[in-house]
Symmetry: C2
Subunit: 167 residues, 2 copies
């Protein structure tokens, strides 16, 4: 990709007259809380074609950023995730029985282990920094937070690529 | 999420009268080759808001499935991926210099290490199996291949969630 992409970025930067920062690329993004029903969180993801979900605490500080695949993980029994053959042979009635223990659960109750690194940046982060963070954490979604840790918006992979490629 | 989501799936299944299989959920999906220019691959991803890219060989067999974040990885120098502080201090001119070595590179030249498990299924895979595979491999994109290994379509996370949630 690389030179043309970054050349486009440079040209864009020259127009701006400064390096592009997270605060300029960030856009509003819906959030969920620990007490949001997991099924509602999944509907939000699916209904708006989001790349993931941002889980915030009561004052809007990101607790975790879940890529879409990890939201999906909440619906899949752990032993099916690890055993493809088992996932194949379980028919729907059995799946329903197995999954009934999750009925009515909240996001907080379904969350996977916390990630080693939270994909969160401050508004001064550069485009290169956001790109590196997305690549490293495998998250197509990065939250932008202020000094108090409160979420001020998010940068999606699509938005970042559009900015990098000038499209 | 879980019971309501799977209940919706069950209802959908009852309508179909059988378990939903990959072959029914799969849709056409663009592919790239090892000799595709990396920047063209990135433009394809960005321009069509794809969740990732499928790299195929000369006869259409998937070689790797790259989530969007791993396409982005091709553009980020390795040492910036691992050192957030360095990514911050590099200004654009330096970044351009550092990245110039990648100029004109192909997808094949930029590919990361091959994944341990390729997110590929046969047309008989169940929805649960696809969901488990996406969660396990962290890939929002699964290729569907025939017996010869030739790609016949793909299932995206969005399409799978829509099917699961009946939206």
């Amino acid at each position: 990709m690389c030179r043309e992409a970054w050349s486009a970025l440079l040209i864009a930067d020259e127009g701006w007259g400064h390096a592009v920062r997270a605060g300029e690329v960030a856009a509003p993004f819906p959030t969920v809380g620990l007490d949001t029903l997991a099924v509602e969180a999944a509907r939000l993801l699916a209904g708006r074609n989001l790349p993931g979900l941002i889980v915030v605490d009561g004052v809007g500080r990101p607790l975790t950023v879940l890529p879409g695949t990890q939201v999906l993980r909440m619906a899949v029994p752990a032993y099916c995730q690890d055993d493809p053959a088992l996932a194949r042979v379980i028919d729907e009635a059995e799946a329903d029985l197995l999954l009934s223990g999750l009925e009515g659960r909240t996001v907080g109750q379904c969350l996977p282990e916390p990630p080693r690194e939270l994909p969160v940046v401050d508004p001064d982060a550069t485009v290169l920094e956001i790109a590196a963070l997305m690549a490293r954490t495998r998250s197509p979604l990065v939250a932008v937070v202020d000094e108090a840790g409160t979420m001020r918006g998010a940068v999606t992979l699509d938005a970042l690529l559009d900015r990098m490629l000038g499209s």
